[in-house]
Symmetry: C2
Subunit: 222 residues, 2 copies
């Protein structure tokens, strides 16, 4: 399957790109608003994978150019760019393509990080407002520590949550996620349930801030 990571030059994009290329046979495409930056990062990821005896070609390009070839498009950008990013690639998507939204919204104050969703109720529901007809939206990969993901020596053993309205699309994203070693994908229901998934991220950051030996936290339901 061809998976485009829009904003794939950012930290969560890097983690997903490396893990998908390392653990799965999917073709990974790196998108950015700046195609030269995408190409550079793609080459950097290839070098990292090559050092681990994984020979793979990762193509980088403008978001819309990589979205054209992708079956699944992950919008790995900050929450306030999600809508614009989806709209910028809408013409590049085919019927049946899947958009994956991993972003969450957080504010910080003296106490720590707080969940700060957009008026739609969650970033995933906000993304839904921009998804073109015939394309399905799935929320996933919200609560993954980017640094841990990008460090291919780090074991995961953690869960990610999948929300969406279309069971087939959720199944495809679940399979992609579980192709990553040590990542379990759990169905958290419809998109209306995304807020409870996204608000986990500030909790994980707060706990890491307040407990010396814990950092880059994930979680396992049990």
């Amino acid at each position: 399957m061809d998976i485009a990571l829009l904003g794939g030059t950012g930290d969560i994009g890097e983690g997903l790109a490396l893990r998908l290329a390392y653990h799965t046979n999917h073709d990974v495409l790196i998108g950015s608003r700046d195609p030269a930056r995408a190409a550079n990062k793609a080459e950097e990821y290839e070098t990292e994978l090559d050092s681990r005896a994984v020979e793979t070609t990762i193509r980088g390009g403008a978001n819309a150019d990589v979205a054209v070839d992708a079956d699944v498009v992950v919008v790995a950008v900050p929450p306030y760019y999600v809508a614009d990013t989806i709209e910028a690639v809408a013409e590049s998507l085919d019927e049946g393509d899947i958009i994956v939204s991993p972003a969450t919204g957080m504010d910080r104050d003296d106490d720590g990080f707080h969940y700060a969703p957009p008026p739609a109720g969650s970033v995933t529901e906000h993304a839904a407002e921009s998804v073109p007809d015939g394309v399905e939206l799935v929320g996933a990969f919200h609560n993954l520590a980017a640094g841990r993901l990008a460090n291919l020596d780090a074991e995961l053993g953690i869960d990610t949550f999948v929300v969406g309205e279309d069971d087939d699309a959720k199944g495809i994203v679940t399979d992609i996620a579980e192709g990553i070693e040590g990542l379990r994908a759990l169905d958290a229901g419809g998109i209306a349930n995304a807020a409870e998934v996204e608000s986990l991220t500030p909790l994980l950051v707060n706990v890491a801030m307040h407990n010396d030996r814990l950092h880059d936290l994930g979680l396992e339901l049990k």
Copy 2:
């Protein structure tokens, strides 16, 4: 230490009472608005513990009567009763006593459960508005599945999160929580961070609803 569980006849109260009596040396007191019901439940818990060769005396009584003797008072009631319950026992508390708030607010619709905090921002912050001067408030035990807690054969291996403004009080509650075998207490910061803790509960319920083999879920950060 003397620990009163107000609303200790309810399901989370039952779980905490049994676990604390089974795993720790604390004295457990069961409170209810109905003292006869508290006494009956206390006897029921004693019988359950006796069947496991734990001889202990659990006293039951009116909320205010058990709060008088307690160092730590857990307000194990539904969120809409939290303020009234604290106000009803305020005269029974001594300076230095600790109130623990485990409640969370949820709505249910066709999609699942959703976090529905009171205007204060979280149930824990709502509770804080009723806590008398000289008494400390700590949020803890928010995300524990009552049935799993009450089943002393069930292994835990899970985390609870502690929020509060007073480090000493948090330390005491952390020690109480970690006296329960398989329960780790993690510092999640100040009371302003309670919403991110409380909103985990609807997520755990939603995941249990949508994944056949998962129920009575807890979580471990890792």
